[in-house]
Amino acid sequence: MFKKKAIKETTQAVSLITLADRTSPVSEQYRTIRTNIQFAMVDKELKTLIVTSSGPGEGKSTTSANLAVVFANSGIRTLLVDADLRKPTVAKSFGLRNHHGLSNLLSERDAKIQNVVQSSGIENLTILSSGPKPPNPSEMLGSMRMHAVIKEMRDAFDLVIFDMPPVVAVTDAQVVASQVDGTIMVVREGVSNKNALIKAKSLLEMVNANMLGVVYNGSTRNVDQGYYYYGA
């Protein structure tokens, strides 16, 4: 008979609360966000969405990764794409290598999605890391090849989540926002600047981005006080 080849077991530290503790109030909030996203476009097909913010350090990568996990947990075949070609984090979060990824797909005409995606180890969740850092990320993301890649992703998966760089800092998010079904903005309490958010809004409106809503991150107020009691 067949015997499985020994698989090397390693412990990976990942910032995925939805995986580490599914019963925590934080995980519950991500599930609430998932439900609200599904209701946001109940009459339209939502297969591709981007997660962005006005500035750095607001929790885009954490939000996109945790959302990808909760969508996958609900049986939706999800692809998490690290579209932050400048400061990629997704591969590291899931303990994967970043030798090949989105940049390869965009630069190599004959590259196939199935050759660059990686298994996350979570059912229904596939990862496409950023790949080697290119010299011209904005041009690559705005290319015709990107259009074709997004179309290919739509056909292969139920949901594609793009982890994008900040809107105000670079044009990457603007470029991709015009090509996807929905945009989610991450706002962090005490970090997100009001003026930067207003600017981000106008930049996204310029490309007719379909704003689904905002994920309010790092709240110091008790958002789910009753949850603890309910679970007791």
């Binding site: 698989i7 390693t10 990686q118 298994s119 706002v187 309490e189 970090v191 997100s192 958010l197």
Partner: protein, 269 residues
């Protein structure tokens, strides 16, 4: 847009900046302690009590209320005489300089002297304040004696009686240690609270989701609370990572299996 601040928000700001406020309170306390115990020189005072009688009315005439009122009225004159008379100050200065190690001028003597009177009383006190309790005592007693001598010839006052000579007071009248420390503490608190509100006013970051709804006009999909240390520390998960090259081991997507899955390498037994 008009911004309002609730009582809850005020307490929230204070709670948020409590460390800063407490720090500044202690800085204020420390500053006032240094000022009180190191910088400020303690001052001592000593008072001598006197009573003055005007010349008696002529024989056969009755002393009436007007005389008493005039007596009281004259005490104001005595006050001015003691505090402004150069001759009194000079005489006092000479005597005090002889008796103690006082090296001040007549003007310094005038600055040290103060006259107080109880309301509607013919008694009054000469109070002297100095950095040396012995000098304060000497100035008060000497000034009373000099006034006693000079009042007769200058003011034609019949009798000046020294009721109680000035004692030696070794406990300082200033600085008031407790009051100064309290002032330092309160000032520190006020500065701390002031800075806290100023920082909050100048802080242009988002404080609550009200800004998202009211200004940006976006809906809030969800509010993710700040993760606790326990939640952050619990984020290590056991996950098998395949060492084989994943890129070369994926199946093509099919309608039944649209998600490319990693093909596990198997060996025949």
């Amino acid at each position: 847009m008009e911004e309002t601040i609730s009582l809850q928000e005020i307490f929230g700001i204070i709670k948020k900046r409590l460390a800063l406020i407490i720090t500044l309170m202690f800085i204020g306390l420390g500053f006032s302690a240094v000022m009180t115990f190191v910088v400020m020189t303690p001052k001592f005072s000593s008072s001598t009590q006197l009573i003055v009688k005007l010349p008696r009315a002529a024989e056969g005439t009755n002393s009436n209320v007007n005389d008493v009122n005039f007596n009281l009225y004259m005490i104001t004159t005595y006050k001015d005489f003691i505090t402004t008379s150069n001759t009194l100050a000079e005489s006092t200065q000479e005597i005090v300089a002889r008796e103690t190690n006082f090296k001040g001028s007549a003007a310094d003597i005038q600055a040290m002297l103060q006259v107080t009177q109880e309301q509607n009383s013919q008694m009054f006190s000469i109070k002297a304040t100095s950095e040396d309790p012995k000098i304060a005592q000497a100035v008060a007693n000497t000034a009373a004696q000099v006034f006693q001598e000079q009042a007769k010839e200058t003011l034609e006052v019949d009798k000046v009686s020294i009721i109680a000579p000035a004692p030696l007071n070794v406990s300082p009248i200033s600085p008031n240690n407790k009051l100064n420390l309290l002032i330092g503490l309160v000032l520190g608190l006020m500065v701390g609270v002031g800075i806290s509100f100023l920082v909050e006013l100048l802080d242009k970051t988002v404080k609550d989701d009200k800004f998202i709804r009211d200004v940006l006009g976006y809906s809030v999909l969800g509010t993710v609370p700040e993760m606790t240390a326990k939640e952050l520390s619990g984020q290590v998960i056991q996950k098998p990572v395949e060492t084989a090259n994943v890129r070369n081991n994926v199946t093509n997507p099919t309608p039944n299996n649209p998600v490319p899955q990693t093909r596990r390498q198997r060996n025949r037994v």
